[in-house]
Structure formats: structure tokens, C-alpha cells
């Protein structure tokens, strides 16, 4: 059957069955709309978790020395230079970035201008030294390396710390909101080998300046992230361990190699710090579970819509038996008749799918608007709670089509089986 003829006949019968077609399409729109909306919400929340709350890189494996293990007795649990070399040589490892904590306490005492206000504070400071390669993309000022005694220490702060500061710490203390760019260049004094809460280990206190050079997802949450050589130097000057590392971040060539890499690392008597990854995975799994449940419910609505279409089309085919007989008498084959019924359903399904998808997008837009206006600011509050990648949008429309065609299957067969000799007699 020709397409132009088919479209004419379909338009004709849809025009006549406007009401039934509308309700059929409405059912499809409900199911598809709910599915697209919930999938978009699940993906959106998942993205916030992945990118903002626990930004983990699927290729990174954080190796730490084993706390208590047989390995340490055998000399295998420590992260010394030789162990790092062996780690770097593991198959699938693209890079191995060493980390060393500053192993003496440190404090910062600040009294001065702070982005338009005055700030007076003193606090304990933790610091970790990392290799420049790990954070090079986030350094916005100067070089990330040890500048030597008496020079300002380049320091990165955690993007998450910044978020927590902006959303909870600053508002309560009437401090200004800060962006990653604003804090670059900010200098604060740091005194190493000094503590407000514990007795010093002895030895001289060393004063230095720390200069913020950027914000990074890979920086430690509660503290300063400084060049590895600086941490080594401070430790050495304080007479503490400056040879073994606190951790090594391995970069796998490919995320798929990570599980094998983890096994190899554990085989060396070392441990993996996967707290963050696990937290991200757990939260992600919870979101995925809820999303799946809601998606299942939506698919149930789609199935109901298909059943509804089957019902409506069956009735319509029965009512049109004579008309179908006439078409057969003037040259319609069984395939033509089946095609007409299926095409009617396809139009209803596509219209319902498109309308449902559009409604879901619109509703998501509305929810985002309401959230940005009426929900108070909280840490990691996203601009959008939704994510609609194109396969979801396209899939919504296709699902509508599919549900309608599924519903039309039996009515179309029944229509094609119409016996014209019987319906036309008399």
C-alpha cells in the first residue's frame, strides 16, 4: 500500500474516532511521561552524586599502607620508594602519584582582611603533599612545586570544602560567598610543629605562608594539599618519617582494569582506600533502586495503556467491519487492512509518546524553577535535579510507539481476518 494512501486512510479514521484516539494517546502519554520524568530525575540525582558530592574518577585507585597486617611484619605493608616502584610497574597502571601527609601538627592564625570583611581565627591545619601530576589541571596560579624555605607554599583546597563553607559555614558567620576563582592568590600564615590541642613533639616551630592556587576534587577535604616535595621537606626538617608515603594514587589505563589492579595491590599486602568510592556506589545504588522501582511503575502504566489501546481498537475494528469489507471489495489486501490498523496505533503511540516526553521535560523544568526559588540553599544543591540524555528522550517516544503497536497487534490481526463475504452480504 502506498504511503500517501495509507496516511489518508489513517487520518480519516482517526478523525472519526477522535475521542477514542485522544484517550488512547493520553494513556500512552501518562506512562511515557512518568517514565521519562523518573528516569530523568534518577539520572540527574545520580549525576549530582557522582560529579558534586563524591566526585570519583573511575580510573583512580587509592592505595594505602595496611594498618595491621601480616604484610607489615614481612616488610610488605609499607609504602616506601621500592613499593611505589612495584606499584607503578603493575600491568594496566598508567601513572602512580605518591602522597605524603605532613606528619607534624600545624595551625593557622588569621587576623586580617577577608574578601571584604575582617576575619579573626585560629585553627588546626592538616596538610598532605601530592605530586603535581595528580592535580595539574586544577592549579590556576604559578607552579605546583616546592618553592623552598621562606617562599609561599602553593596550596589547593577541596572543591567540596568550598561548597560546605559557602552553604553552611559562611552564612552562619556572615562571611562572604567564595568561588574557586576568587580564592586563588589568597595567602594565610601557617605554623608547622605547633598545635592548639596537643603538646608539640618538641623541636622548633616553623612559620610559613600558604598561598591558595586553586580548588580541586582531588584535594583532601579538611586541609591543605601542597606539593609532595614541600611535605617531604617539612617532615625531614621536623625529624619525622620522610621516606614512607601515606598513599599512592594509581591511574589505570582503563576503568575496566581497575578490579584486576585492586586484586594485585591487595596481593602485595597493601590496602585500598575505597571509602569514597563505596559511599558513591552505595548512594548511587540507592538512587538507582528507587529510580528502577518508579520506572517499573511507569512501564506498568505503559502496559495498561497498551491494553487500553487493544480494547479501543478492538471495538473500533468491530464497529468498522462493514467498512473494512468494502475496502477489501475495492482492492484492499489483508496486509493493507492490518497496515491501516497498525498505522492508526502508531500515530496514537507516537503522539502519546511525544506528548508524554514533552510533558516530562516541562514538568522537570518547572520543578527546577520551583526548587531554585523556594528551596533554601544547601550544600551541593544543583542547578538541575534532572538529566535527560537524548536516548531517554528518544526512548520515551519510541516506547510510546512500541506500547501502541503492542496493543494493536491482536486487533490488527482480527481486522485482517475480516471475512468480507460475511460482512457485505445483505
Amino acid at each position: 500500500m502506498r504511503l500517501d494512501a495509507l496516511s489518508r486512510l489513517v487520518r480519516l479514521s482517526l478523525a472519526r474516532e477522535r475521542k477514542g484516539a485522544f484517550f488512547s494517546a493520553f494513556g500512552v502519554a501518562m506512562g511515557v511521561g512518568a517514565l521519562v520524568f523518573f528516569l530523568g530525575l534518577g539520572l540527574g540525582v545520580g549525576r549530582v552524586i557522582r560529579e558534586k558530592i563524591f566526585p570519583t574518577d573511575a580510573r583512580l585507585v587509592d592505595v594505602v599502607p595496611s594498618a595491621v597486617s601480616l604484610g607489615s611484619l614481612l616488610g610488605g605493608g609499607k609504602l616506601d620508594a621500592a613499593t611505589v616502584e612495584r606499584l607503578a610497574a603493575l600491568p594496566g597502571v598508567e601513572a602512580a602519584w605518591r602522597k605524603m601527609n605532613v606528619r607534624v601538627p600545624a595551625v593557622s592564625r588569621y587576623d586580617g582582611a577577608f574578601f571584604g570583611t575582617r576575619l579573626r581565627m585560629g585553627m588546626e591545619v592538616l596538610a598532605v603533599g601530592v605530586e603535581p601530576g595528580l592535580v595539574k589541571d586544577d592549579v590556576k596560579l604559578g607552579e605546583f612545586r616546592d618553592m623552598g624555605e621562606g617562599q609561599p607554599i602553593p596550596a589547593l583546597v577541596s572543591t567540596r570544602l568550598l561548597e560546605l563553607y559557602n552553604k553552611t559555614f559562611a552564612p552562619a558567620r556572615k562571611l562572604p560567598q567564595l568561588s574557586a576563582n576568587m580564592i586563588v592568590g589568597f595567602v594565610m600564615p601557617v605554623e608547622f610543629n605547633r598545635s592548639y590541642v596537643a603538646a608539640s613533639s618538641g623541636g622548633p616551630t616553623r612559620s610559613a605562608q600558604a598561598q591558595v592556587v586553586g580548588a580541586s576534587d582531588r584535594a583532601m577535604l579538611a586541609g591543605l594539599t601542597i606539593p609532595l616535595e614541600t611535605a617531604v621537606r617539612i617532615n625531614r626538617e621536623a625529624g619525622v618519617d620522610a621516606d614512607t608515603f601515606t598513599g599512592v594514587t594509581l591511574v589505570a589505563k582503563d576503568p575496566s582494569q581497575v578490579p584486576a589492579l585492586i586484586d594485585a595491590v591487595k596481593g602485595m599486602g597493601l590496602e585500598i582506600d575505597d571509602q569514597e568510592r563505596r559511599m558513591a556506589e552505595n548512594t548511587g545504588a540507592a538512587v538507582a533502586l528507587v529510580t528502577s522501582a518508579l520506572a517499573l511503575l511507569s512501564i506498568l502504566i505503559c502496559i495498561l495503556a497498551a491494553v487500553n489501546i487493544a480494547h479501543a481498537l478492538s471495538a473500533s475494528v468491530r464497529a468498522r467491519a462493514k467498512e473494512i469489507g468494502v475496502m477489501q471489495a475495492v482492492g484492499a489486501s489483508r496486509a493493507d487492512v492490518r497496515g491501516i490498523v497498525l498505522a492508526e496505533a502508531a500515530v496514537v503511540g507516537l503522539a502519546g509518546g511525544a506528548a508524554g516526553t514533552a510533558a516530562a521535560l516541562l514538568l522537570a523544568f518547572g520543578v527546577n524553577r520551583l526548587a531554585s526559588t523556594y528551596l533554601p540553599s544547601f550544600p551541593f544543591k544543583p542547578d538541575s535535579f534532572f538529566s535527560f540524555p537524548w536516548p531517554v528522550v528518544l526512548g520515551g517516544v519510541v516506547l510510546g510507539l512500541f506500547a501502541a503497536l503492542a496493543g494493536a497487534y491482536f486487533p490488527a490481526r482480527r481486522a485482517a481476518a475480516t471475512d468480507p463475504a460475511r460482512t457485505l452480504a445483505g
Binding site: 500500500m1 502506498r2 500517501d4 494512501a5 495509507l6 489518508r8 486512510l9 480519516l12 478523525a15 472519526r16 462493514k322 467498512e323 469489507g325 468494502v326 475496502m327 477489501q328 471489495a329 475495492v330 482492492g331 484492499a332 489486501s333 489483508r334 496486509a335 493493507d336 471475512d419 468480507p420 463475504a421 457485505l424 452480504a425 445483505g426
Partner: protein
């Protein structure tokens, strides 16, 4: 035009028993003939028309129409045959109510090959049956006779050489029926072969040949003598 041999047609009744409606029936109709088939209600007249027109394939025997052997055509080929070789006219017109007269006539064009002149041709067919001025009317706004004329125009659209008519005047009053009978006569004069099932005395009177369906077979009731000189193949 028509050659049917040893047709046996059985229906299975509601209680499972087989009812033989056509029982070894044969039929020959010459090109350009006008044949009336009469017989009591339930004798199988409609059944005969349906299988001659390729609407019914469940029978035994051979049917050849316009040189086409119907046995062995698949559903698609049979649909094509109905589209181009025969035109059906029914007692209750069977127009599609929400289509205008013209669109009803155009219905066969949807199942045939695309033709540029479809609309023109449909208008010409309506003109031919005397309804050129009412082509945009819906069937409900046409009289019974006019509806049947639209149905005849639709039957003519595909350019068939054979019209199969099932009680074409059965739903019309005498005067209107006469008009339609007149139209069949004209079409016959123009060379069309007409096979009409009828109860109507005037319709069978208009035909050149009358056959009676009796106990599942056709028997000649009246043959027009001119026929031999006119219809030979």
C-alpha cells in the same frame, strides 16, 4: 468473461453440520453480456457473486474471470484482481459515511498504483452516473438512488470489464430502481459485462439472459436470441 466449473461451496452451520449451498455449479458468461441470476432467498446467490469476485476463496472448483484463474492467486494478487478486474455493487450501497461522494469513489485508488488523474477520473465517473453536481455531498445528504449511483461510480473507478451486483435495486423504490436499471442498461450498451443477482422482475427483464439458482446449480431460464451474434469471444 466468466468461466466457472464444478463449484461446490459448503458452509458449516452453527450446530456443526455442513450445508451445501452450491453443488457442482458451472457458469459461462460471454464478454459484454448482461446476466440476471434469480432464485429464492438463501439459495446462494450472494455466495456465488462473492466467489466470482474473489472475495471468497473457500470453495471447490475452478473460476476464471477476464482470463484470470482465481485459484492459486495469493491474497495480494486477489486484492489486485478485485481492484482492477471487477466492480461490486451492493444492495445497501456500503458507502463510507464520513466521506464525500467523490472520496467514496476515490476509495479504490488507495489500493491501486498511484495515478495522477485519480481525482479527474473519479469526477468523470460521478459525471457518468449523473452526479457531477453533488460530488462533495456526504452520503447522508443523498437519496437512495443517488447513493447507489455513487456506489456504481466507485465500482467503475478501477476500469473493470465486469460488474457484480447483489440486488442493486433491492433498497430502492420502483421509480428510483428504474433509473438505476436504466444506468445498467447504458453501461452494458457501452460494452461492460453485468452480472446481477435480483428479485426484481424489471431488472431481470432488462437482462439478456436469466439464470435460476436451484438446488445449488444454475439453470437457464431465458436466453436472448441476439446473444449468439453479439457476445462471441
Amino acid at each position: 468473461m466468466i468461466r466457472a466449473r464444478d463449484i461446490v461451496k459448503e458452509y458449516v452451520d452453527g450446530d456443526g453440520t455442513k450445508v451445501r449451498v452450491l453443488d457442482g455449479m458451472s457458469l459461462d458468461v460471454q464478454d459484454g453480456d448482461f446476466v440476471a441470476v434469480v432464485g429464492p432467498s438463501g439459495s446462494g446467490k450472494s455466495t456465488l457473486l462473492h466467489l466470482l469476485g474473489g472475495l471468497d476463496v473457500h470453495y471447490q472448483g475452478e473460476v476464471e474471470v477476464g482470463g484470470v484463474k482465481l485459484r492459486g492467486l495469493d491474497d495480494k494478487a486477489l486484492a489486485r484482481f478485485r481492484n482492477t478486474h471487477v466492480g461490486f455493487v451492493f444492495q445497501s450501497f456500503h458507502l463510507i459515511p464520513n466521506l464525500s461522494a467523490l472520496e467514496n469513489v476515490l476509495l479504490p485508488s488507495h489500493f491501486g498504483p498511484a495515478r495522477e488523474d485519480a481525482r479527474k477520473r473519479a469526477e468523470a465517473m460521478l459525471e457518468r452516473v449523473g452526479l457531477g453536481a453533488k460530488k462533495d455531498r456526504a452520503p447522508v445528504r443523498l437519496s437512495g438512488g443517488e447513493r447507489q449511483r455513487v456506489a456504481i461510480a466507485r465500482a467503475l473507478f478501477g476500469g473493470p470489464r465486469l460488474l457484480l451486483c447483489d440486488e442493486p435495486t433491492g433498497n430502492l423504490d420502483a421509480a428510483t430502481g428504474d433509473g438505476v436499471i436504466q444506468l445498467f442498461k447504458e453501461l452494458h450498451r457501452e460494452g461492460l459485462t453485468v452480472l446481477a443477482v435480483t428479485h426484481e422482475e424489471r431488472m431481470s427483464a432488462a437482462a439478456r439472459r436469466v439464470l435460476r439458482l436451484k438446488e445449488g446449480r444454475l439453470v437457464e431460464e431465458r436466453a436472448d436470441l441476439h446473444l449468439a451474434t453479439r457476445g462471441a469471444p
